[in-house]
């Protein structure tokens, strides 16, 4: 269901910056996250993980662990229900391997014991007999004939015969005549790129507390971006009915896509079922790095042709993505997004997903898009450099607009790319002077955004306050935004509304907190729920006044007669109607259960200045400005927060973050000391400019904003560094050793 934009609405509360409802608990240390709860009789669960990159599991002997005093349960892959559906079987195999360990850190068994030290001791007593197999962690190597096969028989019909069995799908997008387009070009640049796998890096490790009773009923508390998905998956893996498993989402300490999946939750439930006691599992940081996240690792070729005036005549991208040991469709999003910012007559993208002995990829903010767009935006920058063109003017000349046939198929409605580019062009940052060893880079970025299945329930309390129950974990202030939209629609103050995240037994299905969907889709559901409640309140007022319900309308938080023919009655406020609700027909509530369509696509442009130290190869980010279309910024401070946070994650990915595998196929930097995320002293202020080009698919014009900001930084940084050192960089991260190596080749 798609809504229509109220073009003339004057907002009273949407667009303000009130304090978030969960704020005081969070600054006082009282908010309860995944690891912060306990239960009487609780056991500690721990997971045994493969030390090998690739190995057959010949046998698992748990008898010694089971015999250890204080151990209450041991489980292996056989304790989960074997799934027939590929999607859920991959999750099951990732939670506890049955026949093969597919990467360093793959879970193979788990214990529950009276305390952590007993659990750790028990893990050492589990005897797993492995037969080591050849492994492959490099995406290009995995595609070559003769490469070790990670999993056979997983290729979709789209994959041409003769490719390595590690290639699991092939995708293609585009339109127009590529050859003719390249012939028209005055200059064609072709270049190959690689990007490393990056981890989402949320500070809160995965944690859950499971309690399963002998009657088959279970409760699960966990940090997740989607407790309804957790319920669906755990119910399947445990062989339970969904109604018997109630999942409550804790406060969540970051996710960025990495908590849209399950790892430990089915294991904790299986242990609890076996032990008959509650079981808590909290991952260590090295488990988080080894066995959760990360992004795909990529290898890409991009070719773009351009006229001397800056018009792009043809664009082609070939993408090789690996999402680890299990098939993933992320390459499809990369191939769709690669050229989405441009209005092109001839464009073609081709992508493959490739299996490697790495952990199962999890979504990370705009999954698949940052890498492909990094490659495309780097080549456009190089063309501008060689043709002596202004990079912003060139992007404006080629920019997608309303009516553009996008490179991935749909025709765009109202979009904000041109406005965003123009805002960047007139910003003082764009013309600011640069010094020695300094460079400026820019990049456009794109993300699709998503709506999806959503349920919201709203209660009008008899004291005139309003309770909103929604089902999407609040990962960055969304309860404030939902309360703002409820207050706006109802016409009551923000502080009269309290929004909570309900458990899985209390609302219909809600898709994950992902796809930048919450403020858009849950917001729209909240507006619809408010309208349903308003209709009921108008009917109550009509009954009290003895007039037709159609003769009553809602204005500024009160029911009023609609025009002079309806009769003369003083307005009845929400609080006045609520106060008598129980005597005029009973409790008043509104709800909405729907599939939200119309999530408008999102564009951003980032400007970045760097200085590269030629002695050390260290890159200092001097200045950074983010321009992004938010459609309508409901709570601008949290919109800015998304723009700043996404930009900094992208900066980290561009400059330092990478999964480093040894020749033995084991991860060498599974900790925050060696996997270096940006710290405060690495960064300047991140300036933000919010554009508001209303999304026609939302009543208030809202677009999702969370994911787009991680897309442009990769190319913005690479272009800036390339200008600073006078050498085109084509591999991420641009860590100091890589820059020094590039400089030494330059001579």
């Amino acid at each position: 269901m798609m809504d229509t934009l109220e073009t003339k609405r004057k907002f009273r509360q949407v667009g303000t910056r009130p304090i978030r409802p969960d704020g005081i608990d969070k600054v006082k240390g009282r908010a309860l996250y995944g690891a912060d709860v306990t239960a009487p009789g609780m056991l500690v669960g721990r997971i045994l993980r493969s030390p090998h990159a690739h190995a057959e599991i010949v046998a698992i002997d748990t008898s010694a662990a089971e015999a250890l005093s204080g151990v209450k349960a041991v489980v292996t892959g056989r304790d989960l229900v074997a799934q027939k559906d590929d999607f859920f079987r991959d999750i099951q195999e990732n939670c506890l391997a049955t026949t093969k360990a597919l990467y360093d850190g793959h879970a193979v068994a788990a214990v529950a014991a009276v305390d952590a030290s007993t659990a750790r001791a028990a893990l050492k007593l589990i005897k797993v007999t492995y037969k080591q197999l050849p492994h492959v962690t490099d995406v290009d190597a995995a595609m070559t004939p003769g490469a070790p096969i990670v999993q056979g028989g997983r290729a979709l019909e789209t994959v041409p015969k003769g490719m390595s069995a590690n290639v699991t799908n092939q995708v293609e997008f585009g339109h127009g005549n590529l050859d003719a387009g390249f012939k028209q070009a005055d200059l064609v640049v072709s270049r190959s790129f690689t990007t490393a796998a990056a981890h989402q890096g949320y500070i809160e490790p995965h944690a859950c507390l499971a309690q399963m009773n002998a009657d088959g009923k279970a409760d699960l508390w966990c940090c997740t971006q989607g407790h309804y998905f957790v319920r669906t998956t755990c119910a399947l893996l445990l062989g339970m009915e969904a109604s018997q498993l109630r999942v409550t989402a804790s406060e969540i300490g970051g996710g960025f896509g990495g908590k849209t999946v399950v790892f430990i939750e089915p294991v904790a439930l299986a242990l609890s079922r076996k032990a008959g006691r509650p079981v808590k599992i909290v991952m260590t940081r090295d488990e988080v790095f080894k066995a959760t996240g990360p992004t795909v690792v990529t290898s890409m070729d991009v070719r773009i042709g351009m006229k001397k005036d800056g018009r792009i005549t043809a664009g082609e991208a070939i993408l090789r993505y690996s999402g680890g040991a299990f098939p993933t469709g992320t390459v499809e999003m990369g191939a769709s997004a690669a050229f989405a910012a441009y209005d092109l007559a001839a464009v073609h993208t081709l992508g493959w997903n490739v299996l490697t002995n790495r952990p199962k990829e999890a979504a990370y903010r705009a999954p698949g898009a940052p890498q492909a767009i990094y490659a495309v935006e780097s080549v456009i920058d190089e063309l501008c450099q060689k043709l002596n063109l202004d990079p912003l003017d060139t992007r404006l000349k080629n920019a997608a607009r309303k009516g553009t046939l996008s490179s991935y198929g749909p025709t765009f409605d109202d979009i904000g790319l041109v406005a965003t580019l123009e805002a960047a062009k007139k910003h003082p940052h764009y013309k600011a002077p640069l010094g020695k060893n300094q460079g400026r880079g820019l990049s456009a970025g794109f993300w699709f955004n998503f709506g999806g299945n959503t349920s919201v329930s709203m209660t009008i309390n008899t004291d005139g306050t309003v309770s909103v129950a929604e089902g999407n974990p609040d990962i960055g202030g969304s309860r404030a935004s939902i309360s703002l939209m409820a207050a706006e629609e109802l016409g009551i103050p923000y502080d009269k509304v309290r929004t909570i995240i309900a458990d899985t037994a209390s609302l219909g299905y809600n898709e994950n907190t992902d796809g930048s969907r919450v403020t858009f889709a849950v917001g729209m559901a909240t507006i619809h729920a408010a309208r349903a409640a308003i209709a009921k309140m108008c009917a109550r007022a009509a009954a009290i006044w003895g007039i037709d319900p159609e003769a009553v309308e809602w204005v500024d938080g009160a029911a009023v007669p609609a025009g002079p023919n309806a009769g003369k009655f003083p307005p009845m406020t929400l609080a006045e109607i609520a106060a008598v609700a129980n005597n005029t027909g009973g409790p008043i509530a509104g709800h909405e259960e729907f599939t939200a369509d119309g999530a408008g696509v999102s564009f951003g442009v980032h400007l970045c200045d760097v200085e590269v130290d030629p002695e050390t190869g260290y890159t200092t980010v001097l200045r950074y400005t983010v321009f992004q279309d938010a459609g309508k910024a409901v709570h601008p401070a949290y919109v800015e927060g998304q723009m700043q946070g996404g930009a900094v994650q992208g900066i980290g990915w561009a400059l330092n973050e990478e999964y480093i595998y040894g020749a033995d196929g084991r991860l060498q930097n599974a900790g925050f000391l060696d996997y270096r995320v940006p710290v405060a002293s690495d960064l300047p202020n991140i300036d933000t400019v919010i554009l508001e080009i209303p999304n026609p698919g939302h009543p208030y014009g809202v677009r999702g904003v969370g994911e787009t900001p991680i897309v442009p930084p990769l190319a913005a940084l690479s272009n800036a560094v390339s200008h600073a050192i006078g050498l085109r960089m084509s591999s991420l991260p641009m860590s100091p050793p890589r820059i020094l190596a590039a400089l030494s080749h330059k001579g």
Partner: protein, 158 residues
Amino acid sequence: MKTIQVATTINGDAVEFVCAPDEPLLDVLRNRLGLTGAKEGCGTGDCGACTVTLDGRMVCSCLVLGVEVEGAKITTIEGMATGNQLHPLQQAFLDHAALQCGICTPGILVAAKTLLDRNPNPTDTELRYWLAGNLCRCTGYDKIIAAVQDAAQKMRTA
């Protein structure tokens, strides 16, 4: 493992607890004393989410043993507000939307307060280096810096 009895002061109150000889202070606070405001992000002193003060010195409580705090004075995030009266730093974090998920917030607030106790007027650079041991993955630090500077300014003129 035999437990050891420890007497200490936490947020101004005398506290006695028992712990194992190898048990980190963070586990004591969280699992034995119910003070779950300090978070474990890494357990190796790299993320700062477990930051508390020990006799006025900022420490990662995951790297201190429970048995080491005999006779010491500990302050945690739970001791920062005075009842319902928020510390200016806590209020500034709310006013500036300086938290998104909030998991790093307790550690960053404790670290920022320790800095302002020593240096009421830090430059942005001093502040950024002081907070370099506290990872935040959500905010990009921009609003955190703004919030601490706002609180510092208000505390100087209070």
